[in-house]
Amino acid sequence: MTHARDTIEDYLARLDAALREFHERERAELLAEVRAHLEESALRAVGSDAGVDAAVRSLGDPRELARRLRDADEEGPEQPAPERVKRVLGMPYNFKPLSAEAVASRVWNPADPRILMPRVFGIGWTLNFGAIAVRLGLVRPDDEEAVPFASVPDKALAAGLAAVTVANGAVVAAAALVRASSVPVHWGLAGPDRFAPPSTAAAYLLAPVIVLNAAALLRQALRASRTERALSVAGLAFLVVMLDGLYMDGLAWAVTGHELVYPGVLVLAALVLAFGVLVGYSRLGVRAEWRRARVK
């Protein structure tokens, strides 16, 4: 039996060394269990070393066993599946911090035919512009790479950002130049039904756009990922039309007694513009992709 004893001690010593990364208590527990296993195998094959040798073979290389034990520690099924959509009252929700890629997977995902996607952040659904573009025949579901907008030319991203920044700047300039005592901030079916001083309206409508515009410029300056920059241009285009537009509408009403366009139209226009930006960037990205592939 001394060969069996030596085999057991040798195996345990090597396993002990391989388990260095584990906490003391856990390591002792794992060693005790493997020791029990090996001793049990020795006990079953009385007078023969075959039992222990087979048990050692079955346990495998101690380093490999330690690696598996470590993996078991790390990827236990207690972690919820990342893709599972959480719901409240049947509505999907998600409040985890998000990446540009996560946002893109919802708002621009041509490969997914669903138009309404669980929201990337907050409660409810979000529009998958990618699916709409596919239905309209503007893009093909499998044209793009795994990471959307990853190949959009830098020039196009900078140009898009410059355009929305200029538009935003023009609205801010107009707000600073045109005097009005109060502007409408809410429209009912019969026209404006709520008013506020221009400074309040500016704080609610213009300030968020200015802040987000500054953030987009910062992203551009810091060379954030193309996905992030493309999304921020589209998002900003939406807000410039929607919020700046609403402010201009109010200003026009205060000065002339008529709004420029009915606010409902602004929502639609904002969506169409954001959609156009996304489609445009997607096609530019795919084209750049093709060109690169042909050159290779």
């Binding site: 029990a36 049990e40 006990l43 598996r68």
Partner: protein, 114 residues
């Protein structure tokens, strides 16, 4: 059998290992060596001790099984495992899923001449 097939089989084995261990523990507690020996008795499963212990550790961390050490006057101490309530529930869900899965696959495979 080619290497492609070997890896396919080993993927399947890996996938069913969890349900096999949970099923084994249904209605009784067992210690590590016993679990390994029972599983090794099923040659198709081809499960080794080196796979079972990490799995037991994972199942325990997941709260599906619980363990307790028992000393023995005549042999080495044994660490006994048993299903927790969560484990029992998980097993019944897995069993249901497995039956549905295998029924559909049998349907698909039924038309193939063996």
């Amino acid at each position: 059998m080619g290497t492609g097939n070997d890896s396919w089989i080993s993927q399947i084995r890996k996938g069913v290992l969890e349900i096999a261990v949970l099923a084994l523990l249904t209605g009784r507690e067992m210690y590590g060596f016993e679990i390994v020996a029972s599983l090794e008795a099923n040659p198709q499963l081809a499960i080794s001790a080196g796979t079972v212990y990490p799995l037991l550790s994972r199942l325990k961390k997941a709260g599906l099984i619980a363990s307790v050490w028992r000393e023995s006057p005549v042999g080495p101490p044994r660490k006994y495992y048993e299903l927790t309530d969560a484990g029992t529930l998980e097993l019944s869900e897995m069993t249901e899923a497995w039956h549905a899965f295998s029924a559909e696959l049998d349907d698909l495979l039924g038309s193939i001449i063996r």
